[in-house]
């Protein structure tokens, strides 16, 4: 437990002692706002945040790997991993510490989009429940992407490689579920497989949470995604010691 806390504290602080946090926050907040208004936030003439949340999967598919690429690749490149893993900290504690620090950082970034919420409440009478589930869905999705990114960061010493692999993996999760892909797949795959791909993609789960439906299957999808990739990351790092 002490190991987890130490890593978590150090990681979270390191976002703000390096320029990473500020560059990320500026770019993220700019694009989250820009895309919202570009998608016709005013034209819909509805006081809700659909136009805001709808961009999140694509935006996060690029932004999250940018924060995770350094998690392990940098440690291995600079050799600091030798310090980390010779302290009385288990690999699991270190992986979880890094994961949760990155997650909290992304939650801070999302919290800073509060002017959107204020705008919507100023303009009309939005459904607060929808906004809360919208944020919840986005946080869960960010966690899933983070776990994926952690894993790919542990695979390589090279940050560029881990970034590219994570973006591709996140994009596959997002795009596997869009109607274009579904239509294309259904031309040659049996219906059962197409719906299997759809259930495995992130889009349908994200959207149903967006609609305010908090179902067990959607939440558990993200939880399984997170646990699976974080566990895989731990295994890869443990194996590294032997290999």
């Amino acid at each position: 437990m002490g190991g987890f806390k130490a890593v978590f504290k150090r990681e979270l602080r390191s976002y703000f002692t390096t320029p990473i946090a500020y560059v990320f926050l500026v770019v993220f907040l700019f694009f989250s706002g820009y895309l919202t208004f570009k998608n016709g936030f005013f034209e819909i003439r509805q006081a809700d945040m659909t136009a805001f949340f709808i961009n999140m999967p694509l935006l996060f598919a690029f932004m999250v790997p940018a924060t995770t690429m350094r998690l392990w690749a940098e440690e291995r490149k600079t050799g600091s991993i030798e310090l980390l893993l010779t302290l009385p900290i288990t690999v699991t504690q270190a992986v979880l510490g890094k994961f949760f620090a990155a997650w909290v950082f992304l939650i801070i970034a999302l919290a800073l989009t509060f002017p959107m919420v204020i705008t919507v409440f100023f303009l009309g009478n939005p459904d607060a429940g929808l906004i809360i589930t919208g944020y919840l869905g986005t946080i869960l999705m960010a966690g899933g992407f983070l776990a994926l990114g952690c894993f790919f960061s542990a695979l390589s010493k090279n940050q560029v490689i881990s970034f590219v692999l994570s973006v591709v993996a996140c994009a596959v999760l997002v795009f596997a579920g869009v109607p274009t892909t579904m239509n294309y797949l259904s031309t040659f795959l049996p219906a059962g497989l197409v719906s299997a791909v759809e259930t495995m993609s992130l889009e349908s789960h994200f959207e149903s949470i967006q609609k305010g439906v908090l179902e067990f299957k959607d939440v558990s999808y993200f939880i399984i995604l997170i646990i699976g990739w974080v566990a895989a990351c731990t295994v890869v790092l443990e194996e590294r010691k032997a290999g």
């Binding site: 390191s14 002692t17 600091s80 991993i81 030798e82 310090l83 009385p88």
Partner: protein
Amino acid sequence: MISIKELRRSFGPIVAVDGVSFDVRKGEVLGFLGPNGAGKSTVMRMLACYLRPDSGTATVCGYDILKNPLEVRKSIGYLAENVPAYNEMTVGGLLNFVCDARQIPGNERKKALDRIVPMCAIESVYHQAIDTLSKGYRRRVGLAQALIHDPQVLILDEPTDGLDPNQKHEVRQLISKMAKEKCIIVSTHILEEVEAVCSRTIIIAKGKIIVDSTPEQLRQKYGCSLEEVFRKITRSKVA
């Protein structure tokens, strides 16, 4: 306090450590010598539970490195060869992180820091970021990090590399001072250092122990300086 049994480890086709066994007792300072690539660092990394041996095992303070790596790491202070550290952190930040990880609470931490910072002479750089430090200061921070929890076992991989002559002298004095209550393994290429601080020497080459003796015995046996002894032994045996 350290007992190594038939430790073996290879990297692909290269056998780095080939069946090394030895014991180190409390109060001993073991000088670990050998030409480049002899396997010194690999042995030390396995002792610090950073690498897993292919076969064989070791115990540190009674804890097995394979079965109980966490306890081993708690009782060890380890300074790696290239002084790994988080470059963006300040010296104080790093030491506090190590205290967090080693669960040294507030009161003890203050005492530990008050003891270790002057001991390693890093007061002047305490608030400086680590990547702005010179090689010598960086190594001293590494040393402070290894000593902060007052470990029973010290594993120092080339602790004086990159230090100026004064600092080298200080580090050697530090090691000699701690020698009585601790069990210390020092790897080095500087043979005068071995004569100055070590009570025992092990020379390894190509992953095997060639000599396990004391500096005095070696000198008497070969009738020349330690440097010549080292050359004679490693050249003939390796070639």
